[in-house]
Symmetry: C2
């Protein structure tokens, strides 16, 4: 799957993933009104608004970018109807040829991680039938439980030709509280925790290679460019999923070190900066009805910003 | 909520939580056949089997224990129908007076953690309506992203009088790979990561106290009794949720140090050891049809084992 992602990045000349993280605050009134008229002010109404909103964005950007990253929390917040909108969004994006990264940050003890991995990427045998749950292409994984919590995701990814992105250095302000702690002993003495995790990502990926890259990627926030540079060296075969661009403060110039010399090795996420672009002064001319066109324009501007920097 | 949990532990004289982690391997053929007859070999069929199985267990144990802990991965694996069975199980357990710990190990950057917290514990305002998603009483939280990934859970818990359990030292074999790394610098120099996280749990809980305990608890595996002893001292006000008893190898004698001198401060989880008891030789006399009675007998045996040790 990482080869497919890299090929799509090259074909569209855009190392960009659009975060499909809908929020009622970003959704044009017209979409919300129609959804609430049909379903009332209920979770079903919100789910319908999410779906209609997403569909508009996806139709506008699907030929510009290789991938989307729906953040499942936004949907889970609205219970089963919300998760049905997540499911529908994943399916629709795949129909439109987009690669889907389920941003779910799952991770547990081994047998439970296996269930999460199957739920997000794989299939379960039920009698003679094979049942697929969410069927995304990649899932984000939290490494706090160590190798035996991550390996089941790798095994399912191998079987299904899919991939994972492991949290290494996250984009949030307090990510350093644990991730930057310097290790005192052993092979990794003197290194911060995120480097230890980065080395594990490289190791985990070593037997899941496709060409120059592995199906075990890493999440490193655009808000930490210096750490990005170091992690780029530690994990030469990992594609880095880079959140934190745009609304969280990361800028094109921060991204240069996340890429390898082949121009690959990173894919930059923007969520609010794209899907809520119509609310920014810069894109105000599109109006609420043109929210999807504003998203398209914001993707093109992001592409230019990244090309200028990389 | 932690007061309610402690009161229920005292009232039932059982610091025990039953893990509702259904698996087709544990479910009696009769239940599966009926469910598949109605829904076919589909996710809906599995979900119906999960629900019927859970209902039997819950009816048999609801007067013996204070709490249950459904592991959401088991349900998520079967997509939307699976999650509907999770939802139904949570609601039913609450109707039966049980406290529900959603074992979801969520955690993300701040704004996303807020959505997860609302989804598992809280409510969202939609127009004039308040929408609740899963409405559990506690949720397990992964601390890898640091304080700003955990605080939103604490804020929602405060608002809703609910609580969280933060992963500190997990029960799995490779939990030490990151969690045992010794920190080189700063206030916590010389201490392993799990102690750093334990100190954070105590700090996070300090303004969410109810009586002698806080609504910020910790997860520490029964498989690591020595670490449990240390963490008990570091987190005097945290209730420790202890997985790993039974099927993962933890025994009653390993549990003594997880409790405080008041006899409280820990709640021990068993999943397979209870819900799949009917498959063990010891409980074979109950047969498949008596699976719920076997679960009840296993709870009573576990109670005795813990009382003998604590």
């Amino acid at each position: 799957m990482i080869r497919r992602l890299n090929d799509a990045i090259i074909a569209r000349d855009a190392p960009i993933v659009v975060g499909l993280d809908p929020n009622l605050k970003f959704i044009p009134e017209g979409i919300k009104e129609a959804a609430f008229r049909e379903h009332g002010e209920t979770a079903e109404g919100v789910a319908e608004a999410f779906w209609q909103f997403n569909k508009g964005i996806v139709d506008a950007i699907c030929e510009l970018v290789p991938a989307v990253k729906p953040q499942i929390a936004m949907y889970e917040q609205f219970g089963l109807p919300g998760l049905a909108a997540f499911d529908r969004t994943v399916r629709y994006c795949k129909e439109k040829g987009l690669i889907v990264i389920a941003d779910a940050k799952r991770g547990d003890i081994g047998s439970t991680s296996e269930s999460y991995a199957v739920g997000m990427l794989g299939a379960t045998q039920v009698g003679d039938a094979s049942v697929r749950a969410f069927d995304a292409d990649f899932v984000t994984v939290n490494p706090y439980l160590g190798s035996d919590g991550v390996r089941p995701f790798i095994e399912v990814a191998r079987k299904e030709d899919k991939g994972i992105f492991v949290l290494v250095k996250t984009s949030n302000p307090s990510s350093g509280e644990l991730q930057d702690l310097v290790v005192a002993e052993g092979e990794q003495a003197g290194k911060p925790l995120y480097e230890v995790v980065g080395a594990l990502v490289e190791k985990w990926g070593s037997d899941l290679m496709e060409g120059a890259y592995s199906n075990v990627g890493a999440v490193v926030g655009a808000t930490y460019p210096e750490q990005g540079r170091i992690l780029r060296e530690i994990m030469p075969h990992a594609v880095i999923l880079v959140p934190g661009y745009g609304a969280q403060g990361g800028r094109g110039k921060d991204l240069a070190h996340f890429f390898n010399r082949d121009g690959l090795g990173a894919i930059v996420n923007s969520s609010r900066g794209i899907i809520a672009a119509w609310k920014e002064e810069q894109y105000a001319k599109y109006g609420a009805e043109g929210y999807a066109d504003a998203a398209r324009a914001a993707v093109l501007a992001m592409k230019e910003d990244i090309h200028g920097a990389v």
